[in-house]
Symmetry: none
Subunit: 221 residues, 4 copies
């Protein structure tokens, strides 16, 4: 079986999934951003990495911001797909919520279905860089273009489970977006700013524990 993540948002000029070079761009941009960070990342460095030219990359993405949006959208789509897959045939909303939270909170494992994407590296990028995709002065235009559709769909999907459990709870979307962002942040704090969290680098399932408890307690009536 050959699965492909197809993004509804078109932050690309030319679909990178249709050519070899395109897939190389995706693969190596993940590698490179993970290594050197978004700030130092440039199309020139990427082109050197893949033995191509800046001009070629510009055929696929208008600029590095659009590429970042693509990568992050890919991640959210992949996560949604993974959650959907796991929720298959699970009826109990409580059980469904638990699985959903676990899936986005626990450490990511490489997914053999997508050869040219290193999900673990991409997860690190999402943790460190994803908020930069929207914390810009252009957020409203980008939102109009639909660039955050995947993230919003994922949050909504889990928020609906929350509502199944407690239809009276007033802030289901807020809670899930908080939980998702917090799962990233706490992992980052554990690595780099440990005084801000009790989560440790080593026992990484603590994040699941922390987030799951927080969500569950909050929606109790």
């Amino acid at each position: 079986m050959r699965i492909q993540i197809k993004l509804s948002e078109k932050s690309y000029i030319k679909d990178p999934d249709t050519t070899d070079l395109g897939r190389k761009i995706v693969e190596n941009s993940i590698k490179l951003i993970d290594e050197i960070g978004l700030e130092s990342f440039t199309f020139k460095k990427l082109s050197k990495e893949i033995g191509s030219t800046e001009a070629s990359i510009y055929r696929y993405f208008e600029n590095k911001h659009k590429l970042l949006i693509y990568l992050i959208s890919w991640y959210w789509n992949w996560l949604e797909y993974t959650i959907d897959y796991q929720l298959n045939n699970i009826k109990s909303p409580n059980e469904r919520l638990k699985i959903a939270i676990e899936t986005f909170s626990k450490p990511i494992k490489a997914d053999p279905n997508f050869m040219h994407v290193d999900e673990e590296a991409l997860h690190r990028i999402v943790i460190s860089e994803s908020s930069k995709a929207y914390l810009t002065k252009e957020v409203d235009e980008d939102n109009k273009e639909g660039y955050f559709r995947s993230y919003k769909r994922l949050v909504d999907k889990i928020a609906q489970i929350v509502l199944e459990i407690n239809s009276k709870y007033k802030y289901p979307h807020s809670l899930i977006s908080t939980a998702v962002e917090s799962a990233h942040n706490q992992r980052f704090f554990a690595q780099h700013l440990p005084s801000l969290t009790e989560i440790t680098k080593t026992k990484e399932d603590e994040v699941v524990d922390y987030i799951y408890h927080l969500v569950n307690q909050t929606i109790k009536s």
Copy 2:
């Protein structure tokens, strides 16, 4: 009475609070970053704004990252000072927690004690840009330099109140850092990505309600 916020972290080269030019740099960098965003902000534009030169600004701050750290640290210090002030003579831990959460969650009002700082603009900067201060490849070195001390002290202070209320709760620092970050995020989402939150632009005290409920529920034993 003349109060001054003195930062323990020295992200500056020369204390901007000691000269006219220094205060102008602080005042106008807040104004300018708020207006055009951190990405477009440069020392050149700032120097034009204040009728000075890039070279002069370099006397105070090594680069815009250090300036950002200064501004954000100033904000955390000011917030801590404000919270301390409000907690004065309050005994009940529950009451103390409530006040602390309210202080960092509710909309900021200009503080007449600090003439050259527009706290409302600074708050918008903290919301949109503060995470960029640590989401970098240099976070560990910056942390070693103590650049995040103010934030960590504030989180710790509130986490201690949490522990007073429930000494068994395992993640007080995680919870408070989550709460603080979420207070920013939810406000940003309300403005720009409303599908991610139930908080609305208009009724801005909803953030307090949401965060307070979340923290309170979570630490119930």
Copy 3:
């Protein structure tokens, strides 16, 4: 009847008048240069406009300079054809001169004989861009290639009428080339730099009046 303007100068690689794509290139390049100006005009933008590719356009024209030369030559040929047509059976040299001057000085009307050419737009291009075709460092080579033959033939044709009227006048070609260039320039000035001319935007026949008087007076003995 089906008339075709056949250019003696071969600034094209493949005659655009022989294929659909070729005619589309001509039609849309006129449209696009008129809209955005020669400087911003690129084969990429043109190819997007006509739903084709840069590579395809390169089959017809080596570069945008050659395309410009083609369009302008087309214009001069069309103008010559129009003048010839109007001079048919007119004997009096004075009358002939008058008609010739009127034809190149008065506002252009769309010619239904050439469907894929918008003569009014082309006239605006000739006004704004035609001098750029020869004001280059390559003018001598281009001239050797015969790229300005049409313009020179037109000027010569009218200069011959001048000589019929006054065979003693020393500068007939200078006068006609001045008149033609001035007809363009004055129209441009009327639109954009009105202090350089008494011609107004609205009463556009003033150009004819001005030019005709100038030529007539100058060749009086």
Copy 4:
């Protein structure tokens, strides 16, 4: 005596006449544009020529278009100054007109008052490139900025003499702008497209003869 041409239009960011580097930029840009033409001229090549960097040039001029405007304005100012100087104490309008036309039509001689400007080279630039300064899509904005003030003032000055001679003539500004542009064009045609003119390369005073006759005849009542 030390004379300086001070331009009313500020197409520069920083006045090049105030520093050594600035004067070098002016001097060498004239040399280089004359040599290679405006199209091939870049700030990079110029910076190499003067042993400096692009960045330094950008401190003086926003782009090459602004630099061109500066050079051409300088030329018009210098020409106006030269004409004024020559008209000193001349009363007869006919005589004044003659001198004015001669001054702008005859070959330019180097002016020892302005060491860092090669007026002969600048004249060639004016001939080949000056129309490109206004034949753009930005002409209206540029005009609003006052970038063509010098040219317009010169034309107006000579047009006023025309009116002194014949106050009934309807197109004095048109006539003078035509005469000035034609003086350029005819010289260019003599050099590169000789079939468009009777002017020859060698006897360069023919231009004066041609233009003077044309103007004189045209304004006869």
